[in-house]
Amino acid sequence: MAASQVIRSEWTKIRSVASTVWTLSLAVVVTVALGMLISALSRHEFGDLSRSDRATFDPTFVSFAGMTLGQLAMIVFGVLVVSNEYSTGMIRTSLAAVPRRATFLFSKIGVATALALLVGMVTSFLAFFLGQVMLGPHRTSLGEPGVLRAVFGGGLYMTLIAMFSMGVAAMLRSPMLSLGILMPFFFLISNILGNVSVTKKVGQFLPDQAGSRIMQVVPRLDDDTPYGPWGGLGIMLLWVVAALVGGYAVLRRRDA
């Protein structure tokens, strides 16, 4: 069985269900719209900022403010791509057609990742350009140091979030359980752990806390993060690899 056959099959699967379209369009719309809104507000409030806040004002990062919400749509996309197989019973039909489970899982994740990367990049560049338009006089441009890396990194961040969700969904199988854990974790818990001083030392190594470092161009004043932008993305990648290995281990061992 050629992997190319399975990849084609997974592409047919992913493009033929409605959830793909609505989760990915939601990711684009929410990230870009919220980013534009917060950029516009920031422009308005810029005059009221303290001197130190003005010094560390990061127009790139501000335009990505919608990602905290937009990433949730990416999580739903990643979870549904994998767990739909289980919740519908399709998994038995799929594995009867493709009994090599590694080929099955990694073709599926490969196709979904490629799509997430495309959408993530479009989202990141759109959020950046439209956010800068909103920022007006306080805007930055792709040519400034670190900005292109941050915008490119924003696309990678969204892709990795989706991949992490696929791995978790492969481990947990149930869409409700996976979403019930991932959504509050990334929306609330991780942000709290990563920003409260007591838990920050550990919290900053959580996948989204580490990964989102790549979208920052201007470092904060009291920045003592022990990793740089690419180091942070590397930490996130390790989380993704761990989730995927875990997901494959579960699929390989358990009955369908």
Partner: protein
């Protein structure tokens, strides 16, 4: 050809499938019969490599399922009608299966036509009735034009026309020399379609025999006779050395094809007969008798049908 050897599945303490060994041969419809919960579906999932056996193995044309290149070209299976994504159209459901096994897309249209779903090919599967879902599942099984077909309770939820269609389909597939393996919990259904019979109860093999043989062994022929001169008739039969069973309701039963000798005997003794009817025990009864033995808390409901099977049955009783 499907070969099972010592196939066993244990869930904790419970043995769902207990050392099953049998072979499913090409050219005939093999019925896989057992009461609900006997382990039929678990066995079928293990045959398709979906569930891992605790012990034993299955070979499909001599190969492990995982080692088949493009398995849909060897074996097509209908497990349950709901094993599909309801948001996907019938056409796309079959297309993604076809692509995964290198089957041309034109074949999708062919099988949709075979099962009569062409008109709803672009409709989402969640709007399908159970019968339509069943047909779509069967289309998926036929997709790779496989030599082996496996159907788990295929007539469930089908209307009489659909049931007739699937019976005809299974017979024609077998007559083309394919291996057809079909499960059911209804003996009456098997009697109409199967040529060979594998019966399990509580995960154990209870019978592996041809349908004709099963009928010959189990459809006990007997004669039912009623007379207003009940006692004289009974005595006359006794004197003639014929064993009589009192069947209640003023009727007597005599084993075997005995209608003619009994009629002649009655005439010789000038006895009036109100009924003299040759009868056959139903296969459903025989099946119930066979499997009842394997149900742990079931009351003993009559002698085991055959000494050969009794050995198996007593084994079966030990199973928790």
């Amino acid at each position: 050809m499907i070969e099972l050897e010592g196939l066993t599945k244990r869930y904790g303490e419970k043995l769902a499938v207990d050392h099953l060994t049998f072979t499913v041969r090409p050219g005939v419809v093999t019925g896989f019969l057992g009461p609900n919960g006997a382990g039929k579906s678990t066995t079928m999932r293990m045959m398709l490599g979906l569930d891992r056996p605790t012990e034993g193995h299955v070979r499909i044309d001599g190969q492990r399922y995982e080692d088949l290149t493009d398995p849909l070209k060897y074996i097509g299976a209908l497990l349950d009608a709901k094993a599909m994504h309801g948001g996907r159209s019938a056409h796309n459901h079959l297309l993604c299966l076809a692509q995964s096994n290198g089957i041309p897309a034109s074949r999708v249209r062919e099988v949709l036509d075979t099962v009569g779903l062409t008109s709803v090919a672009r409709k989402k599967a969640k709007g399908f009735s159970l019968g339509m879902g069943q047909r779509l599942g069967i289309a998926g099984a036929l997709l790779g034009d496989p030599r082996i077909l496996m159907f788990d309770e295929p007539v469930n939820g089908l209307d009489p026309e659909g049931i007739h269609w699937i019976r005809t389909l299974m017979k024609s597939l077998a007559s083309q020399g394919r291996t057809v393996f079909v499960s059911s919990h209804l003996m009456s259904e098997m009697a109409l379609t199967a040529d060979h019979l594998v019966v399990i109860g509580q995960g154990r093999l209870l019978a592996d025999t041809t349908m004709a043989d099963f009928i010959a062994r189990n459809s006990r022929a007997f004669v039912r006779v009623r007379s207003p001169q009940y006692e004289q008739l009974r005595d006359a039969l006794h004197q003639a050395g014929i064993t009589v069973v009192e069947a209640g309701g003023g009727a007597l039963e005599v084993d075997g094809d005995m209608a003619e000798p009994i009629g002649e005997l009655a005439a010789r003794h000038h006895l009036v007969l109100h009924e003299l009817s040759p009868r056959q025990a139903s296969l459903e009864e025989a099946f119930m008798r066979l499997t009842a033995e394997s149900v742990e808390y079931h009351a003993h409901s009559g002698p085991a049908p055959d000494r050969e099977w009794r050995g198996d049955l007593e084994h079966g009783k030990k199973v928790g």
